[in-house]
Protein backbone atom coordinates (compact mmCIF):
# COMPACT_ATOMS: atom_id res chain seq x y z
CA UNK A 1 0.00 0.00 0.00
CA UNK A 2 1.30 3.47 -0.87
CA UNK A 3 1.23 5.78 2.11
CA UNK A 4 0.57 9.49 2.13
CA UNK A 5 3.70 11.59 2.00
CA UNK A 6 4.74 13.76 4.93
CA UNK A 7 4.11 16.78 2.72
CA UNK A 8 0.54 15.66 2.06
CA UNK A 9 -0.10 15.14 5.75
CA UNK A 10 1.24 18.61 6.54
CA UNK A 11 -0.83 20.20 3.78
CA UNK A 12 -3.83 18.24 5.01
CA UNK A 13 -3.61 19.72 8.50
CA UNK A 14 -2.86 23.18 7.10
CA UNK A 15 -6.07 23.02 5.05
CA UNK A 16 -3.95 23.57 1.95
CA UNK A 17 -5.04 20.63 -0.19
CA UNK A 18 -7.44 21.12 -3.04
CA UNK A 19 -10.81 19.42 -2.70
CA UNK A 20 -10.14 16.31 -4.78
CA UNK A 21 -6.75 15.68 -3.16
CA UNK A 22 -8.18 16.18 0.29
CA UNK A 23 -11.00 13.78 -0.43
CA UNK A 24 -8.51 11.17 -1.63
CA UNK A 25 -6.39 11.68 1.48
CA UNK A 26 -9.40 11.31 3.75
CA UNK A 27 -10.36 8.13 1.96
CA UNK A 28 -6.87 6.74 2.44
CA UNK A 29 -6.69 7.77 6.10
CA UNK A 30 -9.92 5.93 6.78
CA UNK A 31 -8.23 2.63 5.93
CA UNK A 32 -4.57 3.18 6.74
CA UNK A 33 -3.56 3.00 10.40
CA UNK A 34 0.04 3.96 9.64
CA UNK A 35 -0.90 7.22 8.00
CA UNK A 36 -3.56 7.93 10.59
CA UNK A 37 -0.99 7.49 13.36
CA UNK A 38 1.39 9.82 11.58
CA UNK A 39 -1.37 12.39 11.17
CA UNK A 40 -2.30 12.10 14.84
CA UNK A 41 1.32 12.69 15.86
CA UNK A 42 1.50 15.76 13.67
CA UNK A 43 -1.80 16.98 15.05
CA UNK A 44 -0.46 16.54 18.58
CA UNK A 45 2.49 18.75 17.70
CA UNK A 46 0.11 21.42 16.44
CA UNK A 47 -1.81 21.23 19.70
CA UNK A 48 1.39 21.44 21.74
CA UNK A 49 2.47 24.54 19.88
CA UNK A 50 -0.96 26.10 20.26
CA UNK A 51 -0.95 25.41 23.98
CA UNK A 52 2.30 27.25 24.64
CA UNK A 53 1.25 30.21 26.77
CA UNK A 54 2.68 33.64 26.13
CA UNK A 55 5.44 34.75 28.43
CA UNK A 56 4.58 37.70 30.68
CA UNK A 57 6.00 41.00 29.57
CA UNK A 58 8.95 41.80 31.86
CA UNK A 59 8.82 45.58 31.36
CA UNK A 60 6.63 48.22 29.80
CA UNK A 61 7.87 49.37 26.40
CA UNK A 62 5.73 52.47 25.89
CA UNK A 63 7.94 54.87 27.85
CA UNK A 64 11.27 53.91 26.25
CA UNK A 65 9.72 53.84 22.78
CA UNK A 66 8.19 57.29 23.23
CA UNK A 67 11.52 58.55 24.51
CA UNK A 68 13.31 57.23 21.44
CA UNK A 69 10.81 58.51 18.90
CA UNK A 70 10.95 61.97 20.50
CA UNK A 71 14.30 62.40 18.73
CA UNK A 72 13.05 60.74 15.55
CA UNK A 73 11.65 62.75 12.64
CA UNK A 74 7.87 62.54 12.57
CA UNK A 75 6.56 60.19 9.90
CA UNK A 76 5.07 61.90 6.89
CA UNK A 77 2.06 60.39 5.25
CA UNK A 78 2.86 59.73 1.62
CA UNK A 79 0.33 61.07 -0.88
CA UNK A 80 -1.42 58.42 -2.83
CA UNK A 81 -0.54 58.52 -6.49
CA UNK A 82 -3.71 59.13 -8.49
CA UNK A 83 -4.58 56.50 -10.99
CA UNK A 84 -3.67 57.39 -14.54
CA UNK A 85 -6.65 59.32 -15.93
CA UNK A 86 -8.12 57.73 -19.05
CA UNK A 87 -8.04 61.07 -20.85
CA UNK A 88 -4.34 61.41 -20.05
CA UNK A 89 -3.67 58.00 -21.53
CA UNK A 90 -5.73 58.84 -24.62
CA UNK A 91 -3.96 62.19 -25.03
CA UNK A 92 -0.56 60.53 -24.73
CA UNK A 93 -1.55 57.87 -27.26
CA UNK A 94 -2.76 60.55 -29.67
CA UNK A 95 0.53 62.41 -29.27
CA UNK A 96 2.52 59.27 -30.01
CA UNK A 97 0.44 58.47 -33.10
CA UNK A 98 0.68 62.03 -34.39
CA UNK A 99 4.42 62.04 -33.76
CA UNK A 100 4.72 58.83 -35.74
CA UNK A 101 2.70 60.22 -38.63
CA UNK A 102 4.82 63.34 -38.73
CA UNK A 103 7.99 61.30 -38.74
CA UNK A 104 6.68 59.25 -41.64
CA UNK A 105 5.15 62.23 -43.46
CA UNK A 106 6.19 61.95 -47.05
CA UNK A 107 5.65 65.64 -47.76
CA UNK A 108 4.38 67.02 -51.03
CA UNK A 109 7.91 67.11 -52.34
CA UNK A 110 8.21 63.37 -51.90
CA UNK A 111 4.89 62.38 -53.44
CA UNK A 112 6.22 62.87 -56.88
CA UNK A 113 9.36 60.91 -56.08
CA UNK A 114 7.30 58.04 -54.64
CA UNK A 115 5.00 57.96 -57.63
CA UNK A 116 7.88 58.00 -60.08
CA UNK A 117 9.76 55.36 -58.12
CA UNK A 118 6.77 53.05 -57.94
CA UNK A 119 6.09 53.44 -61.60
CA UNK A 120 9.70 52.67 -62.39
CA UNK A 121 9.75 49.48 -60.33
CA UNK A 122 10.38 46.43 -62.51
CA UNK A 123 7.08 44.68 -63.02
CA UNK A 124 7.05 40.99 -62.21
CA UNK A 125 6.15 38.51 -64.90
CA UNK A 126 2.46 37.79 -64.42
CA UNK A 127 -0.02 35.75 -66.41
CA UNK A 128 -1.96 38.94 -67.25
CA UNK A 129 0.45 41.91 -67.30
CA UNK A 130 -2.15 44.36 -68.61
CA UNK A 131 -4.51 43.69 -65.64
CA UNK A 132 -1.66 44.21 -63.18
CA UNK A 133 -0.67 47.44 -64.87
CA UNK A 134 -4.24 48.70 -64.66
CA UNK A 135 -4.45 47.77 -60.97
CA UNK A 136 -1.14 49.44 -60.18
CA UNK A 137 -2.12 52.57 -62.06
CA UNK A 138 -5.39 52.74 -60.11
CA UNK A 139 -3.60 52.26 -56.78
CA UNK A 140 -1.09 54.98 -57.52
CA UNK A 141 -3.85 57.37 -58.49
CA UNK A 142 -5.69 56.70 -55.21
CA UNK A 143 -2.50 57.19 -53.22
CA UNK A 144 -1.77 60.50 -54.89
CA UNK A 145 -5.37 61.64 -54.33
CA UNK A 146 -5.19 60.84 -50.59
CA UNK A 147 -1.90 62.61 -50.14
CA UNK A 148 -3.14 65.60 -52.12
CA UNK A 149 -6.13 65.95 -49.79
CA UNK A 150 -3.76 66.06 -46.82
CA UNK A 151 -1.54 68.65 -48.47
CA UNK A 152 -3.51 71.65 -47.11
CA UNK A 153 -2.83 70.40 -43.56
CA UNK A 154 0.81 70.29 -44.35
CA UNK A 155 0.62 73.81 -45.80
CA UNK A 156 -1.09 75.02 -42.61
CA UNK A 157 1.69 73.53 -40.54
CA UNK A 158 4.30 75.17 -42.71
CA UNK A 159 2.52 78.51 -42.33
CA UNK A 160 2.69 78.36 -38.54
CA UNK A 161 5.13 80.45 -36.51
CA UNK A 162 7.30 77.35 -36.23
CA UNK A 163 7.42 76.94 -40.00
CA UNK A 164 11.09 76.18 -39.90
CA UNK A 165 10.52 72.87 -38.13
CA UNK A 166 10.64 69.69 -40.09
CA UNK A 167 8.03 66.95 -39.47
CA UNK A 168 10.58 65.04 -37.40
CA UNK A 169 11.22 68.09 -35.29
CA UNK A 170 7.49 68.58 -34.89
CA UNK A 171 7.27 65.01 -33.60
CA UNK A 172 9.96 65.69 -31.02
CA UNK A 173 8.23 68.90 -29.90
CA UNK A 174 4.94 67.07 -29.42
CA UNK A 175 6.55 64.28 -27.38
CA UNK A 176 8.40 66.76 -25.16
CA UNK A 177 5.25 68.80 -24.59
CA UNK A 178 3.37 65.66 -23.69
CA UNK A 179 6.00 64.58 -21.16
CA UNK A 180 6.08 68.02 -19.57
CA UNK A 181 2.31 67.91 -19.22
CA UNK A 182 2.38 64.47 -17.61
CA UNK A 183 5.17 65.41 -15.21
CA UNK A 184 3.41 68.60 -14.31
CA UNK A 185 0.32 66.62 -13.41
CA UNK A 186 2.42 64.20 -11.36
CA UNK A 187 1.21 61.16 -13.22
CA UNK A 188 4.72 59.85 -13.49
CA UNK A 189 6.64 60.80 -10.37
CA UNK A 190 3.94 61.19 -7.73
CA UNK A 191 4.37 59.05 -4.63
CA UNK A 192 2.13 56.08 -4.23
CA UNK A 193 0.30 54.49 -1.39
CA UNK A 194 -0.46 51.07 -2.71
CA UNK A 195 -3.18 49.07 -1.05
CA UNK A 196 -0.83 46.18 -0.50
CA UNK A 197 2.69 47.48 -0.22
CA UNK A 198 5.08 44.54 0.15
CA UNK A 199 7.81 46.92 1.31
CA UNK A 200 6.01 48.02 4.44
CA UNK A 201 8.16 45.97 6.80
CA UNK A 202 10.52 48.36 8.54
CA UNK A 203 13.26 45.76 8.87
Amino acid sequence: MNHLTIETLNLFLDQALDTPTRAAAESHLATCEVCQAELDALRDLFATLAALPPAPLPADLAAPVLQRIASTPAPIQRQARPAAHPYAIAALAAQVVLAGLLLAWPGSALVGVATTTLAALPQPALPDPSAMLSWLDGWLSSFVAIVSRLAPAEDALRASPLAGLSPAQWAIVLVVVGLVWLLGNRWIIAGSSEPHNTKQEAA
Binding site: I6, E7, N10, L11, D14, A16, A41, L42, L45, F46, T48, L49, A50, L52, P53, P54, A55, P56, L57, P58, A59, D60, L61, A62, A63, P64, V65, L66, R68, I69, A70, T72, P73, A74, P75, I76, Q77, R78, S193, E194, P195, H196, N197, T198, K199, Q200, E201, A202, A203
Partner: protein, 193 residues
Protein backbone atom coordinates in the same frame (compact mmCIF):
# COMPACT_ATOMS: atom_id res chain seq x y z
CA UNK B 1 -6.23 65.19 27.74
CA UNK B 2 -7.57 62.89 25.06
CA UNK B 3 -8.24 59.30 26.04
CA UNK B 4 -6.16 57.29 23.62
CA UNK B 5 -7.62 54.01 24.83
CA UNK B 6 -11.01 54.89 23.32
CA UNK B 7 -9.56 55.30 19.84
CA UNK B 8 -9.19 52.60 17.21
CA UNK B 9 -5.74 51.76 15.85
CA UNK B 10 -6.42 53.64 12.65
CA UNK B 11 -7.40 56.74 14.56
CA UNK B 12 -4.27 56.56 16.68
CA UNK B 13 -2.11 56.31 13.56
CA UNK B 14 -3.88 59.34 12.13
CA UNK B 15 -3.17 61.28 15.33
CA UNK B 16 0.50 60.34 15.09
CA UNK B 17 0.70 61.46 11.46
CA UNK B 18 -1.01 64.71 12.40
CA UNK B 19 1.72 65.55 14.87
CA UNK B 20 0.67 63.79 18.08
CA UNK B 21 3.43 61.22 18.67
CA UNK B 22 2.15 60.47 22.15
CA UNK B 23 -0.73 58.59 20.54
CA UNK B 24 1.83 56.01 19.48
CA UNK B 25 2.29 55.10 23.12
CA UNK B 26 -1.21 53.61 23.14
CA UNK B 27 -0.37 51.45 20.13
CA UNK B 28 2.72 50.23 21.92
CA UNK B 29 0.75 49.37 25.03
CA UNK B 30 -1.77 47.39 23.00
CA UNK B 31 0.71 45.27 21.11
CA UNK B 32 3.83 45.16 23.23
CA UNK B 33 3.03 41.78 24.81
CA UNK B 34 2.46 40.11 21.46
CA UNK B 35 5.51 41.73 19.89
CA UNK B 36 7.69 40.81 22.87
CA UNK B 37 6.52 37.21 22.73
CA UNK B 38 7.21 36.97 19.00
CA UNK B 39 10.77 38.11 19.62
CA UNK B 40 11.14 35.97 22.76
CA UNK B 41 10.11 32.77 20.99
CA UNK B 42 12.72 33.48 18.33
CA UNK B 43 15.67 34.55 20.46
CA UNK B 44 14.97 32.87 23.81
CA UNK B 45 16.37 35.67 25.94
CA UNK B 46 14.24 38.19 27.84
CA UNK B 47 16.50 41.21 27.54
CA UNK B 48 17.28 40.61 23.90
CA UNK B 49 13.57 40.14 23.21
CA UNK B 50 12.75 43.42 24.96
CA UNK B 51 15.41 45.26 22.99
CA UNK B 52 14.21 43.78 19.71
CA UNK B 53 10.58 44.55 20.50
CA UNK B 54 11.48 48.13 21.28
CA UNK B 55 13.42 48.34 18.02
CA UNK B 56 10.42 46.97 16.13
CA UNK B 57 8.16 49.70 17.47
CA UNK B 58 10.69 52.44 16.75
CA UNK B 59 11.21 51.31 13.18
CA UNK B 60 7.49 50.88 12.65
CA UNK B 61 6.99 54.46 13.82
CA UNK B 62 9.31 55.70 11.09
CA UNK B 63 7.43 53.67 8.50
CA UNK B 64 3.95 54.78 9.59
CA UNK B 65 3.76 57.27 6.74
CA UNK B 66 3.59 54.48 4.20
CA UNK B 67 1.45 52.11 6.27
CA UNK B 68 -1.93 51.33 4.75
CA UNK B 69 -4.37 52.07 7.57
CA UNK B 70 -6.94 49.86 5.87
CA UNK B 71 -4.84 46.92 7.07
CA UNK B 72 -4.71 45.86 10.73
CA UNK B 73 -1.74 47.17 12.68
CA UNK B 74 -1.24 44.10 14.87
CA UNK B 75 -0.21 41.55 12.22
CA UNK B 76 2.02 44.14 10.60
CA UNK B 77 3.96 45.06 13.75
CA UNK B 78 4.33 41.36 14.58
CA UNK B 79 5.82 40.72 11.17
CA UNK B 80 8.19 43.64 11.65
CA UNK B 81 9.31 42.08 14.93
CA UNK B 82 9.89 38.69 13.31
CA UNK B 83 12.03 40.21 10.57
CA UNK B 84 14.06 42.27 13.02
CA UNK B 85 14.64 39.24 15.23
CA UNK B 86 15.55 37.10 12.25
CA UNK B 87 18.05 39.67 10.98
CA UNK B 88 19.49 39.93 14.48
CA UNK B 89 19.92 36.15 14.69
CA UNK B 90 21.56 36.02 11.29
CA UNK B 91 23.95 38.86 12.10
CA UNK B 92 24.94 37.20 15.34
CA UNK B 93 25.26 33.83 13.56
CA UNK B 94 23.69 32.29 16.63
CA UNK B 95 24.19 28.54 16.56
CA UNK B 96 21.18 26.44 17.20
CA UNK B 97 20.85 25.36 20.80
CA UNK B 98 21.44 21.64 21.10
CA UNK B 99 18.57 20.16 23.01
CA UNK B 100 19.63 17.97 25.86
CA UNK B 101 18.63 17.70 29.46
CA UNK B 102 20.61 20.03 31.64
CA UNK B 103 21.12 22.57 28.90
CA UNK B 104 18.82 25.14 30.49
CA UNK B 105 21.83 27.26 31.40
CA UNK B 106 22.98 27.64 27.79
CA UNK B 107 23.48 31.32 26.91
CA UNK B 108 20.81 31.40 24.26
CA UNK B 109 18.36 29.75 26.61
CA UNK B 110 18.76 32.10 29.55
CA UNK B 111 15.09 32.24 30.23
CA UNK B 112 12.76 32.23 33.14
CA UNK B 113 9.98 29.78 32.75
CA UNK B 114 6.69 30.83 34.18
CA UNK B 115 4.36 28.45 35.91
CA UNK B 116 1.44 27.53 33.66
CA UNK B 117 -1.18 27.45 36.38
CA UNK B 118 -0.64 28.58 39.94
CA UNK B 119 -3.77 26.89 41.18
CA UNK B 120 -2.99 23.44 39.81
CA UNK B 121 -1.41 20.63 41.75
CA UNK B 122 2.37 20.97 42.08
CA UNK B 123 3.14 17.93 39.97
CA UNK B 124 0.81 18.98 37.18
CA UNK B 125 2.28 22.45 37.28
CA UNK B 126 5.79 21.02 37.05
CA UNK B 127 4.88 18.77 34.14
CA UNK B 128 3.23 21.60 32.26
CA UNK B 129 6.21 23.83 32.87
CA UNK B 130 8.63 21.11 31.84
CA UNK B 131 6.78 20.48 28.60
CA UNK B 132 6.71 24.19 27.83
CA UNK B 133 10.41 24.41 28.56
CA UNK B 134 11.11 21.52 26.25
CA UNK B 135 9.02 23.09 23.51
CA UNK B 136 10.76 26.45 23.82
CA UNK B 137 14.13 24.75 23.75
CA UNK B 138 13.11 22.69 20.74
CA UNK B 139 12.09 25.86 18.87
CA UNK B 140 15.38 27.54 19.77
CA UNK B 141 17.20 24.49 18.45
CA UNK B 142 15.85 25.19 14.98
CA UNK B 143 17.79 27.25 12.44
CA UNK B 144 16.64 30.90 12.45
CA UNK B 145 14.59 30.68 9.26
CA UNK B 146 12.79 27.58 10.53
CA UNK B 147 11.97 29.38 13.78
CA UNK B 148 10.57 32.29 11.80
CA UNK B 149 8.20 30.16 9.71
CA UNK B 150 7.03 28.28 12.80
CA UNK B 151 6.42 31.59 14.57
CA UNK B 152 4.46 33.05 11.68
CA UNK B 153 2.45 29.89 11.02
CA UNK B 154 1.69 28.60 14.50
CA UNK B 155 1.77 31.73 16.62
CA UNK B 156 0.63 34.40 14.17
CA UNK B 157 -1.63 32.18 12.03
CA UNK B 158 -0.22 33.45 8.73
CA UNK B 159 -0.90 31.65 5.47
CA UNK B 160 1.89 30.19 3.35
CA UNK B 161 1.63 33.15 0.98
CA UNK B 162 1.78 35.68 3.81
CA UNK B 163 4.82 33.97 5.27
CA UNK B 164 6.55 33.98 1.89
CA UNK B 165 5.85 37.68 1.54
CA UNK B 166 6.91 38.52 5.08
CA UNK B 167 10.23 36.69 4.85
CA UNK B 168 10.93 37.35 1.20
CA UNK B 169 11.22 33.67 0.31
CA UNK B 170 9.44 31.47 -2.17
CA UNK B 171 6.30 29.49 -1.42
CA UNK B 172 8.18 26.24 -1.89
CA UNK B 173 10.78 27.38 0.64
CA UNK B 174 8.04 28.19 3.14
CA UNK B 175 6.64 24.68 2.88
CA UNK B 176 10.08 23.10 2.92
CA UNK B 177 11.17 25.04 6.03
CA UNK B 178 7.87 24.52 7.81
CA UNK B 179 7.53 20.79 7.19
CA UNK B 180 11.13 20.14 8.08
CA UNK B 181 10.85 22.30 11.19
CA UNK B 182 7.84 20.32 12.34
CA UNK B 183 9.70 17.07 11.82
CA UNK B 184 12.65 18.35 13.83
CA UNK B 185 10.36 19.56 16.61
CA UNK B 186 8.67 16.19 16.80
CA UNK B 187 11.99 14.38 16.93
CA UNK B 188 13.26 16.60 19.71
CA UNK B 189 10.07 16.44 21.76
CA UNK B 190 9.93 12.68 21.39
CA UNK B 191 13.54 12.39 22.49
CA UNK B 192 14.74 11.00 19.20
CA UNK B 193 18.31 11.93 18.15
Amino acid sequence: MESWAALADRQLITRVLNGQPEAYGELVRRYQAAVYNAAYRLVGNQQDALDLAQEAFVRAYSALGSFDTARPFGPWINRVAVNIALNWLQRRRVPTVPLARGQASAPEANTEWQLADDSAEPERVYLASEQQAQLRMAILALPPHYRAVVELRHFQDRSYEEIAEALGISLSDVKSHLFRARRLLRERLEGRP
